[in-house]
């Protein structure tokens, strides 16, 4: 007899996601992923000036502001067949990379580590032993006794004061929690340190973006950062040096703390390297353009089928037809109607809502279901790392090997690349990406400084809009995976706009052929110790880092509030 478990909403994510699973014999037999908000940002953009689209699309979501801004200008630039000055590419790349590293640190420590780390168990730890463990794992200066004792005291203070705050909703004492008190304490110490470190990444974005959380410096055709080495109000040597300082601090944390912690979680939860595999078609787009046209990239991307790295086919340039011709979206199981049957290409995309209630075998989500050449595809850090490995990307190879070696040493058994196709693998891939990206940050910084040194201060090419209809796609390998914006422009005004976002690829409902999406497929056969506390489901879903606010949009829900407020 199977038991239906509904988790609504999934917590510690941005947006509103519902997951349903049928559990039988202690394992998940069927799963449904349902976006509970509908998105209509596309409708707002119709008829507007394409040069304004980036500022509006970056308001779709609280987490991914910069990624939509970047992708939007790339779409319009692609439609106009524009080149972007080298300085503008480098400045955008620095913003992209700093944002990505920020996002990955926050995701692991603040949004998903609590699925693996038992905060209350950390209270039982011996701080000195935790310090000894930390010091044996890496050269990070804050693994010392003083820091571990301080963390222990602070945690005691919180728990005794009854203010668990952010830690309130954890599954403390759950049978699936396996870390020793000392490892838990070390993780809590790093959780707090990560709160400090993430600020550094954000400072890079705010110096270059002129403002956070919503950057102001992007423009169709380049960036609005005047460069002058001797003026206070623009990008100066002083500001560039400050950025370099932040990059170095981030690099230390990512390589000596984040990468090690992920490897430790992987080693102590080795069973989770065999759980959560799901869809093994992996799609990633290339990013970090190194030329004005977008034909050379520091991060390669492409498509891998069936988990077989030798099937890798690269996406080579901005606007590469291999990518643009492959994407379609189905609404067979989504709360929309198309004017005719079958899946639609984003240029022809339609956004007509048709809410039917949750129907297991029919429509049950506000998310559409995208495919690549008719195939369901996983996007995100794992897809990115596997595609980069398939492309022979040396930095990725270096950090992936280092991570797997640390896991192997801690687990005292050889752990290979196969282990990556899993829930833990997605976390590991995210950390590997972060390590690759902090090095790239330093690389882009040097490239920018060197180019300015040559006397090039150009940051903007003015766009020209033709009278006739043009269309373009912008893509970006965002932290959660391949993001694309598709724009049709007629006489300088937006005629159609569609965003195909990473969480749509991963959290989508069943497609035209009724195949489950990546979230749904990854949950099949997951062991569930206690159907009342489905921590295991959360672990796998969180490993994708759901961010649903842009995949769908806000629904109005009456909140039953007990508090009284007074009018003023």
């Amino acid at each position: 007899m199977s038991k239906r478990v509904t988790i609504d909403p999934i917590t510690r994510i941005e947006g509103h996601l519902r997951i349903d699973v049928d559990v039988d014999g202690g394992r998940v037999k069927k799963a449904w992923s349902s976006g509970q908000m509908w998105r209509g940002v596309e409708l707002i953009l119709l008829g507007r000036d394409p040069r304004d689209a980036w500022a509006i699309t970056q308001r779709i979501c609280g987490v991914c502001t910069t990624v939509h801004a970047i992708t939007s200008v790339r779409a319009v630039e692609n439609a106009l067949n524009m080149e972007v000055p080298l300085n503008a590419q480098y400045i955008r790349n620095l913003i992209i990379l700093a944002h990505a590293v920020h996002d990955q640190i926050v995701h692991f420590y603040h949004l998903s580590a609590l699925d693996w780390v038992d905060v209350t168990s950390a209270l039982k730890a011996d701080p000195d032993k935790a310090a000894a463990l930390g010091e044996s794992l890496s050269s990070w200066s804050l693994n010392n006794k003083h820091e571990m004792r301080k963390t222990h005291e602070r945690l005691k203070h919180f728990v005794n004061g009854g203010q668990l705050g952010i830690f309130t909703n954890g599954y403390w004492g759950h049978p699936a929690m396996k870390l020793s008190p000392e490892v838990n304490l070390m993780a809590v110490a790093h959780y707090l340190q990560a709160l400090e470190v993430q600020r550094k990444a954000n400072k890079i974005v705010s110096i270059l973006g002129a403002k956070t959380p919503h950057i102001q410096n992007v423009a169709v055709g380049g960036v609005a950062n005047p460069i002058a080495t001797d003026s206070q109000s623009v990008l100066t040597v002083e500001r560039l040096m400050a950025i370099k300082g932040f990059i170095d601090e981030l690099s230390d944390f990512v390589k000596n703390v984040y990468l090690i912690d992920v490897a430790a979680v992987g080693a102590f939860y080795a069973d989770w390297t065999a759980i959560g595999k799901g869809v093994t078609n992996y799609l990633a787009v290339p990013d970090i353009p190194m030329d004005t046209k977008g034909t050379q990239f520091a991060m390669p991307g492409g498509f891998i089928e069936g988990g077989n790295l030798s099937s890798y086919k690269p996406i080579k340039t901005f606007g590469d037809e291999y990518f643009t011709k492959g994407v379609e979206e189905s609404v067979k199981h989504s709360w929309y109607d198309y004017s005719k049957g079958g899946a639609l290409h984003p240029y022809k995309g339609e956004t007509k809502p048709n809410y039917t209630d949750f129907k297991d075998d029919a429509k049950y989500s506000w998310l559409k279901s995208p495919t690549f050449y008719g195939k369901v595809a996983q996007v995100g850090p794992l897809a990115r790392v596997l595609n980069m490995l398939a492309a022979g990307h040396e930095p990725t190879k270096k950090y992936a090997t280092a991570a797997l070696d640390t896991v192997s040493a801690l687990a005292k058994t050889k752990v290979g690349l196969d282990a990556m196709h899993s829930t833990i693998g997605r976390h590991a891939a995210r950390a590997v990406t972060a390590a690759v990206q902090v090095d790239m940050l330093a690389g882009q910084w040097s490239a920018l400084v060197e180019n300015i040194g040559k006397g090039d201060t150009k940051t903007f090419n003015a766009p020209k809009f033709p009278k006739d209809e043009v269309m373009g796609v912008g893509f970006h390998e965002a932290p959660r995976g391949a993001l694309s914006h598709w724009v049709v422009i007629d006489n300088g005004k937006i005629k159609n706009y569609q965003c195909v976002v990473p969480s749509t690829w991963n959290a989508c409902p069943r497609n035209e052929k009724d195949e489950p999406g990546p979230y749904e497929a990854s949950l099949l056969n997951t062991p569930i110790a206690d159907a009342e506390k489905p921590l295991e489901v959360l672990r796998t879903i969180h490993s994708f880092d759901p961010c649903i606010a842009c995949a769908i949009h806000l629904t109005d829900k009456e909140s039953n509030t007990a508090i009284s407020v007074r009018a003023v």
């Binding site: 941005e14 979501c61 609280g62 806000l554």
Partner: protein, 162 residues
């Protein structure tokens, strides 16, 4: 003495923009001293930790849902603050409670927090607020200014050129 006036909300959901627009109004109508920072927080989260650390005073401007008629202005302060965030009276915010909880862990919580809210009418997709709410935006900004003035922050009204 350091204060932040934070406008939160999603400007593409009609009345949800009220907090952000009120911050813009505050900046337009008042000349703020260096000790007061006005922030358009949008719907963001952890990026705000830096600016919200170790404040003496935080004012959050937002739309609220309390069941009162649209346009009603609401002040929430003191003991009601934790309850306010726990109940997510603010319709969109997952992020801000997390930011405050993180500040608590970092021992960097603002010494005092006041939420000034306006009851919304529509959260439909759109860049324009409904007229009833748009009318209240300057009032919301003035309330924020009064809170600051009461606590000794030196705001100066900007003389409007007709």
């Amino acid at each position: 003495m350091r204060a932040v006036v934070l406008g939160v909300g999603n400007i593409i959901l009609s009345d949800e923009a009220a907090g952000v627009r009120a911050v813009e109004e505050l900046q337009a109508a008042w000349s703020l001293p260096e000790s007061v920072l006005a922030i358009d927080g949008g719907t963001s989260g952890m990026e705000m930790i830096e600016d919200l650390s170790d404040l003496d005073f935080l004012i959050v401007l937002d739309v609220v849902k309390t069941g009162a008629p649209p346009g009603t202005l609401v002040k929430i302060a003191g003991d009601e603050i934790p309850v306010f965030f726990r109940h997510k009276l603010s319709p969109h915010q997952i992020a801000l409670p997390d930011v405050l909880a993180s500040l608590e862990l970092l021992d960097a919580m603002p010494k005092e927090i006041v939420v000034l809210g306006v009851e919304f009418s529509s959260l439909e997709l759109g860049l324009e607020m409904t007229p009833a709410i748009a009318r209240m935006v300057p009032r919301l900004a003035d309330l924020a200014a009064e809170e600051l003035l009461t606590r000794g922050y030196g705001l100066m009204p900007v003389r409007k050129v007709a």
